[in-house]
Amino acid sequence: MNEDTKEVEILLVEDNPTDAELCIRALKKNNLANKLVWVKDGAEALDFLFATGPFADRDVSCPPKVVLLDLRLPKVDGMEVLRKVKADERTRPIPVVVLTSSKEDRDVAESYKLGVNSYISKPVEFDAFAKTVSELGLYWLLVNRPPVTTR
């Protein structure tokens, strides 16, 4: 589980295995999924980002380049993950992109209020979904300049 967690580029937080598979597939097509870690609930995501529990040997100071966060998650809700990440000095700079099926206005408003860096609602059509995800990956991994790490 902890192999290669030192240099993670994308943290995918997604409880639905088919959605995760489609997402990873779309990223793989553009060679963007090499350093991807997939966690299945909010608690695991927090463990990863704050280097606790099973990720205790991770270095908090080298965060992923982007976190792709679903909102409806078991154990700890995506909104809660976002709140905790943006409330902590150490994790606040990490770009978080909400990637969710929800198009509800209140989710969008709440996410931005908590400091999300981008909000994307997953298109139903796979082609559009694949295009969105690969554009997203390209942008955050290659175009965007990530925050300077203390490494």
């Binding site: 959605d19 489609l22 597939r25 099926s101 198009k103 509800e104 059509e125 796979f126 694949a130």
Partner: protein
């Protein structure tokens, strides 16, 4: 005999004084009846002194028989008068008590009613919340499996195309088309339910600008077309800007869609201010419709055209109707098969209202 008359007067006056005194309790008028009772009592004392003189001094006291008889009559009248006034006050007091009782009853009923309203309101709020939670999970949970169906069919087409013959590919295409249609249906249902629940804002909406914005937004639908658009005078109106925008998005999308098979598609947008309402219309020279189906047009998921010919889920006009109705207006349609259609909607002129 005169002693008897005097004694009777004294007795009657005493009774009258007591009765007057008792009226204090009945009427609450302490001073008024107190004074009267005191006055009568003084008269009684005066009579008693006369009686004393008469008895002690005997015949030396010169009695005036007529005056004593008059005094007796006055005493009788006083007793009768006070006796008759008592029931009047008693009924007044009864009425007062009745009114107080009724008021109390009204108050309890009002409290009960208020409690019931509060209860119903919280029930309604709970139902509304439940509905919201329902549509939230619909929007989230129904989309995921659809994306999986579409995604994996697409992967199948991509990775196994060598093993699939043309019919197999066509069948997978059908799966994907229907998935996409269902995705659109889910979006439309959600939007339809949202237009029913969302709170209505009330601002002055510049309809002319709104329509031009919407046309600009829809330009991808008209690219490469020879479409002619004519915009008449569109007066501003009070209403919810986002919702009225949706009205024009839906009406103009329809107009563009149903007229695109024409050589020169034409759309007209205009308005007419009437006494109590302003009637807006969107007119096209498209395929039109049979007027006898016009009542069906505004129902949710009713379609007058074949899906293969014109795409869409049939929710557009239902949303238009819902929005206009929520604004206190009305919608109707005119048209003929192959001769275009005009959709009208009227919004009340609110400026004159004393709101």
């Amino acid at each position: 005999m005169i002693v008897g008359i005097l004694g009777l007067s004294i007795a009657l006056q005493f009774i009258a004084a007591v009765m007057a005194f008792r009226l204090i309790r009945l009427t609450g008028e302490r001073w008024a009846w107190g004074f009267i009772a005191a006055a009568i009592m003084l008269m009684t004392i005066r009579r008693s002194i006369s009686l004393f003189h008469m008895v002690v001094n005997g015949n030396s006291y010169k009695a005036d028989v007529i005056a004593e008889v008059v005094a007796l009559v006055i005493s009788i009248l006083m007793v009768i008068g006070i006796a008759r006034i008592a029931p009047v006050f008693r009924s007044v007091r009864q009425a007062k008590e009745d009114a107080q009782l009724a008021e109390k009853e009204v108050r309890t009923l009002k409290e009960k009613l208020e409690a019931r309203v509060t209860e119903r309101t919280s029930q309604l709020e709970a139902a509304n919340k439940e509905l919201e939670a329902f549509s939230y999970s619909v929007s989230h949970d129904l989309r995921s499996p659809l994306r999986a169906i579409d995604g994996f069919s697409s992967i199948l087409l991509e990775n196994y195309s060598a093993k699939l013959d043309d019919e197999g590919k066509r069948l997978l295409g059908v799966v994907r088309d229907n998935t996409s249609h269902m995705g659109q249906l889910i979006d439309d249902i959600l939007q339809f339910s949202r237009t029913g629940r969302a709170e209505l804002a009330s601002v002055v909406v510049d309809m002319d600008r709104l329509v031009r914005d919407v046309l600009h937004e829809l330009r991808h639908l008209t690219m490469g077309s020879t479409l002619q658009v004519e915009i008449g005078h569109l007066p501003a109106v009070r209403g919810d800007s986002a919702m009225l925008r949706q009205v024009f998005v839906n009406l103009l999308t329809n107009a563009i869609k149903f007229s695109r098979t024409r050589d020169t598609p034409r759309i007209g947008i205009g308005a007419e201010v009437k006494e109590r309402e302003t009637v807006y219309y969107v007119k096209d020279n498209g395929v039109g419709f049979d007027l006898q189906h016009s009542d069906k047009m505004f129902g949710a998921f009713e379609r007058l055209n074949n899906v293969n010919e014109f795409e869409g889920t049939g929710i557009g006009l239902a949303i238009v109707k819902r929005i206009v109705t929520r604004h206190g207006g009305r919608v109707w349609a005119e048209g003929k098969v192959n001769e275009g259609a005009t959709i009208y909607f009227a919004l009340p002129n609110k400026e004159n209202d004393h709101e």
